[in-house]
Symmetry: C2
Subunit: 201 residues, 2 copies
DNA sequence: GTCTATATTCCGATAGAC
DNA sequence: GTCTATCGGAATATAGAC
């Protein structure tokens, strides 16, 4: 807790930490106040309600993750390069924010309709160009036939799931935190390789 | 709500539905009472507290999913057949209980220590045999070298994640509920194929 | 802006009639 | 066993002093 940071900034950092680790329903305003080193009343002074505070955190958080998808998927890159860039960058990001995927998935399930509008207000992921590249690679007999949606699911699953299922995986595979971290680092290269091997003849 | 089902049974069904869709923290005893068609007091009559009721639901739920892992992974099957059996059976099960993965992942993250003890009290997943088969296949140059833990992550990710990330995937890939269901059916065969193709030379 | 104290609402749990 | 009514605590939110 640095003294020179503004109170509002400290609240936002504290709220992000608490909301992401406990979820909206599990988070307590007292937890956030303690984490920020202030009292509850100040939270309401800066942000009217818990709902408002949550909304700020939520939108700010996902806005740091969405735009880069479009940058990668619409760049002048081959489908292989896009897979490599996506896996590498997003696994890297999630390593730095390991609780974020479960948080986002939870809130997406709870607020399906209005969430979508706010999350991608004019900022929907645009995968058409990538999908066309895949379809062309299929027609050119470069890769096996696959529904583009299945491929997208596989990419997201392989990048995101290990962080959501970490406890399950640690139990099933018998690995500790350090080993888990090393495996995640390795996945930045392993995931695109795995996918490309599955696709090509 | 069938009249001839016992009150305890109705409560358990209602609690399962509410807990799985809202999580422990988000679920209300009133919600469960309404869903079961009774009042709150009866919940406490049958199960002392919310915690106790949740524990019953949680253990009963996962116990229907864990043992089958050991059955498959220790059967007299090749590593390919085990992958096919696991993917097919678990995707099938999750299609019938689509909200269950997110529920289980959430509660695993919240109760890491005691969760593990209860979840696998003498019933840990035993993947040693499968792991040895993979290592032997690697040594025999049948498949590419891969850390067994990475393979296990990939299998679980490809089977489980689509249900957790459904809203995200529907947004990214632009698919509706009916199309999503069809894709999940297709995955029972697609996932093992995808993995095997990625593994073999 | 920041605090203490308090109001208000919500929710799990219990008491007691039937 | 099942209900209504209510308690008691916890959590969000507000009032008001400084």
């Amino acid at each position: 807790m640095l003294k020179d940071r503004s109170t509002e900034e400290r609240i936002l950092d504290a709220a992000k930490k608490v909301f992401i680790s406990k979820g909206m329903a599990g988070a307590r305003m007292q937890d956030i106040a303690d984490e920020a080193g202030i009292n509850k009343a100040l939270l309401h002074y800066y942000f009217r309600s818990k709902d408002k505070l949550f909304e700020v955190i939520f939108l700010e958080t996902i806005s740091r993750f969405v735009p880069r998808i479009n940058e990668i998927m619409n760049a002048q890159l081959s489908w292989k390069e896009k897979l490599e860039a996506f896996a590498s960058e997003y696994i890297e990001k999630i390593i730095a924010n390991p609780f974020l995927p479960l948080f986002v998935m939870n809130e997406m399930h709870k607020q399906p309709e209005e969430f979508l509008k706010k999350m991608w207000g004019g900022d929907r992921p645009r995968l058409e160009k990538f999908i066309m590249q895949i379809q062309q690679a299929i027609e050119a007999k470069e890769i096996r036939p696959i529904h583009p949606a299945q491929l997208i699911m596989n990419v997201m699953a392989l990048c995101i799931f290990p962080f959501i299922g970490k406890p399950l995986l640690q139990m099933a595979a018998g690995i500790n935190d350090k080993e888990f971290f090393n495996l995640m680092e390795e996945r930045k290269k392993l995931v695109p390789e795995f996918i490309i091997q599955a696709l090509i003849f």
